[in-house]
């Protein structure tokens, strides 16, 4: 790896080496001290299930069941570690690759596929999970998260000291997004308003085909202090370190300490999306380097070394993964097609002369075909 610029891996908080060996950190080890073997197995299980889901979705795209898929492959530690640090009342604004975080918020993973199948622009009720809809325009949602956190402030839900009550807001985005004006504006607005926001950047090294060196010449976390925002770089493939730094940032946000920028240094092991071809712009050697740093392998190694990975657990997890894959496939096949006239729904909250007239015309047009009814002419 490069030892300068945004690709340097120096200064990363790490609590678990790629070989699965625990490291002590004076500030962050205490933040994971309460995570017992069962909690660790839980995170391991989350990561395995999310990867299975991700692979299943990739296969479904290849089979023509999805129009597109954006893989989370390789980013499971960043997403599960940060996601498991959240409290139920915290609110998340994801980008479009946060399948692992969605899982930790209790979103039915099958519903993530509605967007990619082309039957829904959303797919779930954000209020049910405190997990906003995916945002496809890079970085836009970091401002929504900032405004949401400003609302939380006004609601008096910051700094009460009640752990069941105080809430934080988290925005997930990538290395490419850090070049967007909106992300920089989110840093400005959250800083001057002292908004309880965690800006969680997954630096997965690649913005489609552009390396992080095309976005920055300094580590991304270095930008925080210029905005007056405390920042931390973390090994994004270390689920324990991701948990720890997120827990710290969430605590700062909930207690009224304002925003934090986290740079989780990870790797997009798959393609940007199923339409991408990474072999055109990155080396097999680089991919191999990161395969040796697989976020799941190191947790498995740790659990095995500590004698906390019984064969029955592994067997059950394998069975659960298979069952999940099967359920996802069945759910996608059963999704059906929205009614044609539903495209006119919810443009406005109430009646609208223009939309209503176009809907009425369209329904009449559809009904005019032999056999009548929706889609009869197709």
């Amino acid at each position: 790896m490069s030892q300068t610029g945004p690709l340097t891996d120096s200064g990363l908080v790490q609590l678990l080496t790629p070989a699965g060996v625990r490291l002590e950190h004076p500030d962050y080890s205490p933040r994971i001290a309460h995570l017992d073997a069962e909690a660790l197995r839980g995170m391991y299980r989350d990561m395995v299930l999310v990867r299975r889901f991700d692979n299943e979705a990739t296969a479904l795209q290849r089979q023509g069941e999805l129009g597109l898929w954006a893989q989370s492959l390789g980013q499971e530690a960043a997403q599960i570690g940060s996601g498991r640090a959240l409290a139920p009342q915290d609110y998340v604004f994801p980008s479009y690759r946060e399948h692992g975080v969605a899982h930790t918020r209790g979103v039915d993973l099958a519903n993530l596929l509605r967007l990619f199948r082309g039957i829904d622009h959303g797919g779930w009720n954000p209020a049910d999970h405190n997990f906003h809809l995916y945002t496809l325009v890079i970085g836009s949602h970091t401002l929504h998260a900032t405004g949401y956190a400003m609302g939380v402030q006004r609601d008096g839900l910051v700094g009460t000291g009640d752990p069941e009550r105080d809430m934080a807001v988290v925005a997930y985005f990538g290395d490419g997004a850090t070049s967007q004006g909106d992300v920089n504006e989110a840093l400005v607005f959250s800083a001057v308003n002292n908004a309880g926001l965690v800006l969680f950047c997954q630096n997965n090294q690649w913005a489609i085909s552009e390396s992080t060196t095309r976005q920055s010449r300094a580590p991304l976390a270095d930008r925080g202090p210029g905005f007056g925002v405390p920042s931390v770089r973390v090994d994004g493939n270390d689920v324990l370190a991701c948990y720890a730094v997120t827990a710290e940032a969430l605590e700062r946000a909930r207690s009224g300490g304002g925003p934090t920028l986290i740079e989780a240094f990870t790797y997009r092991m798959g393609a940007h999306t199923t339409s991408d071809d990474p072999s055109r712009y990155r080396s097999a050697a680089e991919e191999e380097y990161w395969r040796q740093r697989d976020p799941i392998d190191r947790v498995r190694a740790l659990l095995a070394a500590e004698g906390e990975l019984p064969a029955e657990f592994e067997a059950q997890l394998a069975a659960d993964s298979d069952a999940l894959g099967e359920r996802i496939r069945a759910a996608v096949h059963a999704m059906g097609r929205p009614s044609t006239s539903s495209m006119f729904d919810h443009v406005y909250a109430g009646p609208n002369a223009i939309v209503d007239a176009e809907r009425a015309w369209f329904q009449e047009y559809e009904a005019s075909f032999l056999g009548g009814g929706e889609g009869a002419h197709r």
Binding site: L133, T146, G147, G151, V152, E185, F189, A349, A353, I354
Partner: protein
């Protein structure tokens, strides 16, 4: 800060100020956001005194970043707040264009109606005030072209007072275009005017209004051009021509029915706006009137507006803007058909 009541003769700017004050008083979730809207009261003083009376948490001086203003207003709306954002000048709205068109306009749609964004964006727009570049634009059609947004523009203090409150109360995002050249025009305002018609239960925010009846030709304007259209009607009346003037008030939705009903009576139509004619609101009105009033028309629908050039230097703006004479010229051409 006692509530003002009764009918007063006030400027359009003051009418918006009082409407905002009423909105802030009646709903604690209403916030004002924008650049210099606090202690200064905005560069046009539209928010004068509100910072002092409602505090910095409700009348918020924002960083100088329009995308940030609208983006954070969206987040606040998701948390239940109703932000009224001031874009300082029309020509500065473009940094927020992405947030307005890709996020604000379609959150209700993409969430299947689960998420509402009752955000109001106030935009002082239009020319005629001798301003430097980027301070006299009329970008309203860019937003009328985007589904999910409402686009309205008052032409009188009375309408401004009521419409700004209706915009704040609207569950949809509203682009509220304020004719800055008319900010200092005075008119009678009923400060107790109802926001909802008690009989129909409707606000009328989606309705055009016939502001002067006539029989020979329909003159359609909105915002800053309505006053000019009324003067044209006066001048034409002196020559024996009876002009009906329609104030569109809203571009999205467009109340084509009110215009069509008028044109079916008069048989002639001229549409006037400051924005460029090319692909402008007049084109939409003309197309719809042609479809709906084809056999009533005595002449093609004509348009008077800006040219296909960037807004010119202020020394030339009165030649660029639809003036009394240019509108009368179009009226004459229509009548001569």
């Amino acid at each position: 800060m006692s509530t003002t009541t009764g009918t007063q003769r006030i400027t359009l700017a003051k009418a918006i100020n009082l409407g905002l004050r009423r909105a802030l008083e009646s709903d604690p979730k209403v916030l004002l956001m924008g650049e210099d809207i606090g202690a200064l009261g905005g560069v046009f003083r539209v928010t004068d005194g509100l910072h002092k009376d409602f505090g910095a948490d409700r009348v918020v001086d924002t960083p100088l970043a329009e995308s940030g203003i609208i983006g954070t207003a969206i987040g606040l709306a998701l948390r239940g707040y109703r932000s009224v954002c001031e874009i300082q000048f029309d020509g500065f709205i473009y940094p927020a264009f992405d947030q307005i068109t890709t996020q604000l306009s379609r959150m209700h749609y993409r969430s299947q109606g689960r998420l509402s964004l009752p955000v109001v964006i106030r935009v002082p727009y239009g020319g005629g005030i001798g301003a430097i570049e980027h301070h006299s634009e009329s970008p309203e059609v860019l937003f009328a072209h985007t589904a999910g947004l409402r686009v309205v523009s008052p032409s009188t203090p009375a309408d401004a007072y009521v419409m700004i409150q209706q915009a704040v109360a609207s569950p949809d995002p509203v682009l509220f275009f304020e004719p800055k050249g008319r900010y200092w025009d005075k008119g009678d305002v009923d400060l107790d005017a109802p926001l909802v018609d008690t009989a129909s239960g409707e606000t009328g925010l989606d309705r055009a209004v016939v502001v002067r009846p006539g029989t020979d030709l329909t003159l359609v304007g909105y915002g800053p051009t309505v006053g000019t259209c009324l003067k044209v009607a006066d001048a034409a009346a002196a020559e024996g021509t009876s002009i009906e003037v329609v104030d569109l008030r809203t571009l999205s939705p467009l109340d084509a029915a009110t215009v069509a009903a008028s044109v079916q009576r008069t048989g002639r139509c001229v549409v006037v706006h400051e924005a460029p004619v090319l692909y402008g609101a007049g084109a939409e009105v003309a197309a719809r009137i042609t479809e709906e009033c084809f056999y009533h028309l005595q002449a093609p629908v004509l348009r008077v507006g800006g040219f296909h050039i960037p807004y010119p230097v202020s020394k030339l703006e009165h030649e660029y803007l639809p003036s009394l004479d240019r509108i009368l010229d179009a009226v004459d051409r229509s009548l001569a058909y």
